[in-house]
Subunit: 220 residues, 2 copies
DNA sequence: ATTTATTTTTAGATTTGTCTAAAAATATTT
DNA sequence: AAATATTTTTAGACAAATCTAAAAATAAAT
């Protein structure tokens, strides 16, 4: 795979995210997302078209080629693996990891990413609950559930937490619930939606419905 | 501390290394080391002088200011911590880590480096045996010894290995000797310089003088 | 102490990524 | 469908980091 500049990589990644929502992407949308000007985007589009990253007709909008998608996914893979590393291994707050991963995702070594992936235990989701593509660009299709949806007694793994307020993080820290923690609902209290949850194999705790619906898990 | 471009950082680091050997650095030497042209170096020198990183008089050679040294040391710190991470945590060969660390050293977050340092257990030496400056730029002065110099029975920590041939690495892997491994000489055989070495608290092994002089340790 | 060689700097060009302002294409409204 | 508004592209400029070729300063050699 050819090498790209940081600016090129950022544009590719951004087009990928936009076209997930809208199919075809247009110049102004990309400019807004990239915090740059439409004219600059046009320049970049020409360059990326030449490199066969984009299908692009003047005034008509654009989208990634297969090659372009592959590159986007490899950048997203790096980003999410680094985010996982920063939170799970270095103990960063969820809120801070994105900006740092924006830099780390441009480190080029493929071997580094493969080894990092193994070191982390080949996680399927980053700390924000977004799936981590594998080295072929395949995105895991395992469904995520929040704890309200999780069947009782089913063993599952915490994959993400949607509400990342300080209070929430504080609470999770107290109960030693983190990304990758094995978890199991042992009892449900229907009158208020709260539940008893077994963590690891040790502790149990009671979580309110309010909290439970913000904790996401997957199983199998 | 102000922000610098990757190119600026690389020049600063390079001047630091050169002035360690020669005191004053001259244009051609830096150009050679940076794999660039003398004219490009002159341009960069002007820029760095303006930013008060260098003391520089036309045609007279140059060296870093105190500020410049501080910045150089913070880059070197990052480089060596990442090298340590790559070998000890990700299992990279010594030979491969330098190139990757050249990229990682430019990631800007100070908090990242502080957390990485803690995660690694605040190591004093990188896998090549070079000292890792602390967050104030202080370089550890603890002396390193090779195993031939290490007093018998003295408990020490493996800090680096100078001969990084495949055979050597193979052997170290087999005996589970790595950076950070506690080690102790239990017996010396004067007739051939070989020695019996206790590793961790478990295994012992016999190392030839040839091998022993390539393994570096520190204690206290 | 001249001449010659080496080192360093300047002057001017190039590439990359960005910008502004104006022109061109497309969309929307009356 | 003509007028107006919006979007997109072009044209030309600029800063950063590099280069080549030539000039200037310094060092070495006769």
């Amino acid at each position: 795979m050819t090498k790209f500049t940081i600016s090129e990589e950022n544009h590719i990644k951004c087009v990928y995210h936009l076209q997930q929502q809208t199919g075809l992407v247009n110049t102004n949308a990309l400019a807004a997302e990239m915090q740059t000007k439409a004219a600059s985007v046009t320049d970049m589009l020409k360059k990326l078209k030449l490199k066969k990253i984009l299908q692009y007709e003047k005034y008509k909008g654009f989208k990634l080629t297969e090659m372009g998608k592959k590159i986007a996914l490899s950048i997203i893979r790096k980003h999410r693996l680094w985010e996982y590393f920063l939170t799970v291994k270095l103990g960063f707050d969820w809120a801070k990891v994105h900006a740092i991963a924006e830099e780390l995702e441009h480190i080029s070594s493929e071997e580094l990413i493969q080894k990092l992936d193994d070191f982390l235990g080949n996680p399927s989701f980053d700390p924000h609950g977004d799936p981590i593509p594998d080295s072929f660009g395949k995105i895991p299709t395992i469904k995520q559930y929040n704890l309200v949806q999780l069947p009782i007694k089913k063993k599952a793994i915490v994959s993400s937490v949607s509400n990342q307020s300080a209070q929430m993080l504080e609470m999770l820290k107290h109960y030693k619930i983190g990304i990758g923690t094995p978890i199991q609902i042992t009892k449900q209290f229907l009158f208020d939606g709260s539940m008893e949850v077994k963590i690891l194999k040790n502790t149990t705790c009671i979580l309110s419905e309010q909290v439970a619906k913000n904790i996401f898990v997957y199983y199998e």
